[in-house]
């Protein structure tokens, strides 16, 4: 096995491609929207290259095993902390609160 970056997949072997079509889920759409907005706000919290760098510096196991938008949301988390927009502790606290919500109330319908 050559020593290559986790994202450097070109030329590797692989199995058949799953060519079925998928509708993105609400979580995926929201992750995509957040990434785009945080990059394009007037204050542009980061640029494309920074979120690529963040994704590419995930632990190899995390990169391999993560769903596509899972990597994106992990990158958003890392960049928000790196840019001091959010703190790690407040994210963890919020996460615990979200998880503790009863079924049916986890996703508040925000209007």
């Amino acid at each position: 096995m050559t020593d290559r970056a986790i994202s450097d997949l070109g030329g590797l072997t692989g199995g058949p491609i799953d060519i079925s079509e998928h509708q993105p889920t609400l979580s995926e759409r929201r992750i995509d929207a957040m990434m785009m907005l945080l990059r394009k706000k007037p204050q542009a919290f980061w640029v494309t290259d920074e979120n690529r760098r963040t994704i590419e510096s995930l632990e190899p196991k995390a990169y391999e095993e993560s769903a596509y938008y899972e990597r994106w949301v992990l990158a958003i988390r890392a960049l928000l902390i790196e840019k001091s927009v959010l703190g790690e502790a407040e994210i963890e606290a919020k996460l615990a609160e979200v998880r503790a919500r009863p079924a049916g109330y986890t996703r508040e319908d925000q209007r």
């Binding site: 072997t13 058949p16 491609i17 060519i19 079509e21 995509d32 929207a33 706000k41 998880r99 109330y105």
Partner: protein
């Protein structure tokens, strides 16, 4: 229960008895760590007035309004207007701008497929894709298998998409980058001389602009618009 037999695990937060005359898929409860993380980050950003729910909703809608129909219009124009085709090949950004599309901060290169040369697009390193023209990339475009194998065995990959090209056609794979995106102009099907630009655009599938298929009418089978 008979009216609910075809729905999945049906539960609502609100117990109010609204009737189900229209069928809408239920929101799946989050189960994965990253889905909870999405909720936590979004709510924190909203609480801090960094983002608003409205902005996120608008952004999601803006994404849904971008579709391969944009790229198809550009291809149909290139098929019918030779001067436009040449401008598109010379300067992709300026030419798509003529039709009201912007590909911001990126170089856009249009590649023309012919009998002798077939292009297909990949992004081996991530998922770079001409979103303003084709919408959100399909899942397979971002898959490990497509990213790795397309530059290794493009004809085998094409075959999985139902596309078999003569051995005399050169297959050229182009690897997108964060700064440069590609749009394939598929071959125009024979016998379409009399068609309007609008009718021609309907022959241009998403996959034909990625290069994994040909336009409809040329053996392009997958209807994925």
């Amino acid at each position: 229960m008979s009216s609910h037999d075809n729905t999945q695990d049906h539960h609502h937060g609100d117990a109010a008895g609204h009737d189900h005359t229209t069928f809408q898929p239920d929101l799946k409860e989050p189960t994965e760590d990253w889905e909870f993380l999405e909720i936590a980050l979004r709510e924190l950003l909203i609480e801090k007035d960094i983002l608003s729910s409205r902005e996120i909703q608008d952004e999601i809608e803006a994404w849904e309004n971008k579709s391969p129909e944009g790229g198809a219009k550009i291809v149909a124009r290139a098929w019918t207007d030779d001067a436009y085709r040449q401008r598109l090949l010379a300067d992709g950004n300026a030419a798509v701008g003529e039709l009201g599309f912007t590909v911001e901060a990126l170089k856009l290169v249009a590649l023309e497929n012919t009998d002798k040369l077939h292009h297909m697009i990949v992004c081996t390193l991530c998922s770079c894709y001409p979103r303003p023209l084709l919408g959100v990339p399909p899942l397979w475009y971002k898959s490990r298998e497509y990213r790795s194998r397309t530059v290794r065995e493009p004809r085998a990959v094409l075959k999985e998409f139902g596309t078999e090209l003569p051995v005399t056609t050169e297959v050229r794979v182009v690897d997108s980058t964060a700064d440069c995106r590609y749009l394939v102009i598929p071959r125009r099907p024979n016998g379409t001389e009399g068609l309007s630009e609008t009718a021609l655009a309907e022959l241009v599938s998403r996959d034909s602009m990625i290069g994994t298929a040909e336009a409809f009418g040329l053996g392009g089978k997958r209807n994925t618009l």
